[in-house]
Symmetry: C2
Amino acid sequence: MAATIKDIARKIGVAPSTVSRVLSNKPGVGPAMTERIRKVAKELGYKKNRAAVELVKQRSNVIAAVVSSVKTSFSGQIIDGIQAEAEKNGLNLIIVYSHSADPVEQKKALLTVIERPVRGILLLSIALAADNVALLQESQIPFCFLSISLDDPALPFVSSDDWQIGYQTTQFLLNKGHRKIGLAAIDKYPYTGRLRLAGYRQALKEAGILPRDQWVQLGDYSYAAGKQAMVNYGAHTELTAIIAGSDAAGVGLLNQARILGLKVPDDISILSIDGTEMCEMVQPQLTSISQDFYKMGIEGVKYLQSIEMHPAAKKIQQEYTPVQIVERQSINNLTNN
Amino acid sequence: MAATIKDIARKIGVAPSTVSRVLSNKPGVGPAMTERIRKVAKELGYKKNRAAVELVKQRSNVIAAVVSSVKTSFSGQIIDGIQAEAEKNGLNLIIVYSHSADPVEQKKALLTVIERPVRGILLLSIALAADNVALLQESQIPFCFLSISLDDPALPFVSSDDWQIGYQTTQFLLNKGHRKIGLAAIDKYPYTGRLRLAGYRQALKEAGILPRDQWVQLGDYSYAAGKQAMVNYGAHTELTAIIAGSDAAGVGLLNQARILGLKVPDDISILSIDGTEMCEMVQPQLTSISQDFYKMGIEGVKYLQSIEMHPAAKKIQQEYTPVQIVERQSINNLTNN
DNA sequence: CTGAAAGCGCTTACAG
DNA sequence: CTGAAAGCGCTTACAG
């Protein structure tokens, strides 16, 4: 039904190979012929069949991003970074998403991407089941995790240093005179949460503080998890400051604190992790440790490109993007100066 | 490098067609052979080559969504709906995105999708240039616009009724005793903004009110546009209520009002369009007209499926999903009762 | 500058 | 139940 190269060739009375050459911008066809072919292709509404091209070339110019959620604004920032860098390299981006942590779901999402000759795969804050990591490695396709760090040296990633996030935020609060500091709405098992927790504990330890169990409220980084954590802390919490696992969780904490009659930052300080624009949309504005999500996207694509340039090197890159505390209005300074 | 069907066939000493049958779950191969082939396929790390399959079958089981932004939470909701319904039908979803309104960019995004045998294309709040609409139609691939309505009867869509959004929100405010009502951060040219504006004007007209030009502040639906609109209205605005083009714009209005020393809702009421969770994250919570984005996704996929079932019918569906005003805390009732 | 031919990896009638 | 063969739409050496 759709016109093919052969249709064009037949109509003009020329070989398909000639048509192919002009339609794929290969040199070596006379200008008159070139123009004629272009014209007929347009007339016939010719559309290149990518499946055929990819089959013969065994490669495409698409890179794939696998995302766990399209609802957080930070994944949007990462994707913006990927898209910008991909475009710069003439690559097309396709996104598939795998919301659940279910290995079977993950596998389906991975396969939609692995079974095509994509140039590379970027995985956005996805904790892949071991089987699926194996699948990925088997595929021989360059890949890189983004916004999650792994402790397997064979797995490349670009991420913030989550240990540092836990450590620096806690230190920052310590420097403001806080001693009883909570950590809320982080996941215990994935690396992200575990590392943040470890950094938090280390900073506290160095200050000679032993956190009580209830200072840490696990959760899934959501707004609801933030609210729930604050409910658990209660109106009479001994804490003077809380680190939220995400901006949304920080807002949850903030709103629930208000419901409990606690003023932020006078009664309780909140520091959120991420630093998306949401921090500036609430009142008081949330002080945050901001991550450079856009850069993660950029660096991820660059890494994929570097692998392609030097496949022999097989360098596994584990890169940390910088984080930075941005002071806004949700933290109380308890020191005298 | 990667194992093919032929490799497996050779290794076992059987015909490629037999291998193909078991690997694509076709009946008619003995159980012993089936198992043998499965085992060897696994050993060799066989991955199906989709490009080859699609080439011969001239069809795939993927549907594509073209999105203009992955940053708004409502597009995330639409995608969730699409994904859920796609999954139910055994379809895989791939997302490409085309942030800009630039026709050339749009075309690139469209082509990445049209040049493959996708089963259908969903366009999320994208105002396509005329050339690109033609491209889409030429491609013969079923498509449907989502969260945008068009007045060309040849173009299928699933969307809220934006005229009704303008009309109902204005009426709602009128019923609360407001007479001087603003409309902020909507786009004038695309259908969405134009329709909302028309509905707003009609409701005002029916109430015998002639809106002054400065009551309507155009913008791009963003947080910044909301803030800017409020700056333009000024601290001494005659308005008692403002309809915001989006939740983010509503928050912009809200925060800027605070900066100007205006209390919401006492000094000025705000009603935002969309009703995402952001409405409940700010203080006061924003009363909104809520759209059923999830349903748009579902219905979009269903439409694509129906086209495929009855291609002859060629029914162009233009469907409106329901909207509903959700009262929260940002509107002042000026009437006595 | 142009053409004939082989082949990418699969699927699917058609035989047997 | 299994195999031989043709073909999907393109690209790319190889000739000329």
